[in-house]
């Protein structure tokens, strides 16, 4: 089955499922996969920290990296995923042109992700981060294969 992850959203799947997210700009796309349990999930988080709007975070934790990432891992554990086996990949976190710090939401998203992973002793297996491009991610839960598509070109992450 195909699941589409919209902005500020998370979807999980098992063998036979394909999870897709379109148009990652400065948002973070996080893919977590357990190859033995054959379960996986994808998060599409928009902003780094939930303290900017706690009300929204309570209604939808997937809007923020600091609340969305733990929620994704918890869901994967509840489906039989085990921490030691997880393969974690990140995509997105782009920036517009120029050096305007205010618009570096993508950078801030990635920084918060790295802090969370480091605190929990989890390493990123691969990433496709930054730049001015938009990215679409196809995540095949049968194989864990992750394909990034941008400007009509596809590459495996």
């Amino acid at each position: 089955m195909k699941h589409i992850v919209v902005v500020a959203d998370m979807k999980v799947g098992q063998k036979g499922d394909m999870i897709v997210t379109y148009a990652l700009g400065s948002c973070l796309g996080l893919m977590v996969y357990d190859p033995i349990a054959q379960v996986g999930g994808m998060l599409h988080a928009m902003l780094p920290l939930s303290k900017i709007n706690p009300q929204k975070a309570e209604a939808n934790p997937f809007m923020f990296v600091d609340t969305g990432v733990p929620a994704l891992f918890k869901k994967i554990y509840s489906m039989g995923g085990q921490k030691a086996r997880l393969i974690v990949k990140a995509a997105g976190c782009g920036q517009p042109l120029g050096k305007n710090e205010m618009f570096k939401i993508g950078d801030r998203n990635y920084t918060i992700l790295k802090k969370l992973l480091w605190k929990n002793g989890i390493l990123l297996a691969a990433n496709a981060i930054g730049g001015m491009i938009g990215r679409t991610v196809y995540f095949d839960i049968s194989t864990g294969r992750t394909i990034i598509s941008s400007k009509g070109l596809e590459s495996e992450l």
Partner: protein, 283 residues
């Protein structure tokens, strides 16, 4: 060669659909302070499709009206006629903005979603910054990318060349200009001019990527500029050219914008977009 391209583009602008008669009449009335609900109803009476769409928008969760609105007259009372005219514009452009846009690789419906997103983000930015919202902000934001509808097929034709220019670290609309002799903001302004839109709106569309060149400082231009980039960043209407646009540090300074304001508006925009876009998607 570039000259011929430009001429072809301008010919396409001339054959671009005109605004429906009802919208044009209402727009002309914008400056008339004595406008009455009865006059608006009179104009809309002959366009039931437009009226139906207008009422759908009025009843969307975005406006949070306490009761369901069933007539134009009631809508005028509850929203005010200026807001109502903005919604007439939105209803009118829904059909043309809903099409897929080549060149920028926007699938069907995405330019419409982006346009609505920039409209609500622009209004919300003004609110967050406690700037009294310029009157035309919703409509200016709604129409800022209308030029892409004409330029898209020309961008597609010369995409390789435009992308080579953009890869040298310049923004996409500059790359468009280098290859085609114009860009989507300029073409959008031309379209609005041909629709006899007020100069403030034409100006906001013309300079939405380059607010520092707008001549005089204009809050309307600055807000649409920031709202547009923010919506692209959160993935609404981000096309093949990605985030290859440059936020103006001067515009953010003029607005007194802070990181928190930007992120706060982003956190609210999605809900507003869903509230307004759902009315057409479910119909």
């Amino acid at each position: 060669m570039k000259q011929t391209k430009l001429l072809n583009i301008l010919t396409k602008v001339k054959s671009f659909p005109s605004m429906p008669g009802a919208a044009e009449k209402l727009l002309k009335m914008l400056d008339n302070p004595d406008m009455t609900a009865a006059q608006i109803e009179q104009i809309l009476r002959y366009d039931p499709g437009l009226t139906a769409n207008l009422l759908k928008l009025t009843n969307s969760a975005y406006f949070g009206l306490p009761c369901k609105v069933g007539s134009v007259g009631q809508a005028v009372v509850l929203l005010g006629w200026k807001r109502l005219i903005q919604l007439v514009m939105a209803s009118c452009v829904n059909a043309i903005m809903g099409k897929p846009v080549p060149g920028y690789d926007l699938p069907a419906g995405e330019l419409w979603r982006h346009s609505i997103a920039v409209s609500v983000a622009a209004e919300d930015l003004a609110k967050e910054l406690k700037i009294s919202a310029p009157e035309n902000i919703f409509t200016a934001a709604l129409l800022h990318d209308v030029g892409k509808l004409v330029l898209g097929s020309f961008v597609k034709e010369d995409l390789e060349e435009i992308e080579i220019e953009a890869s040298r670290g310049i923004s996409f609309e500059l790359a468009e200009h280098m290859v085609l002799g114009t860009n989507h903001a300029e073409i959008g302004a031309q379209i609005l001019k041909s629709w006899s839109f007020p100069p403030a709106l034409v100006n906001a569309v013309r300079w939405h990527h380059d607010p520092d060149s707008a001549g005089k400082t204009d809050t309307l231009v600055d807000i649409v500029h920031v709202a547009n980039i923010l919506c692209l960043m959160i993935g609404i209407g981000v096309g093949r050219e990605g985030l290859c646009y440059k936020p103006s540090p001067l515009a953010t300074k003029r607005l007194g914008l802070k990181t928190n304001d930007l992120e706060m508006v982003a956190s609210r925009t999605l809900q507003y977009v869903d509230d307004l876009c759902d009315v057409f998607e479910t119909s």
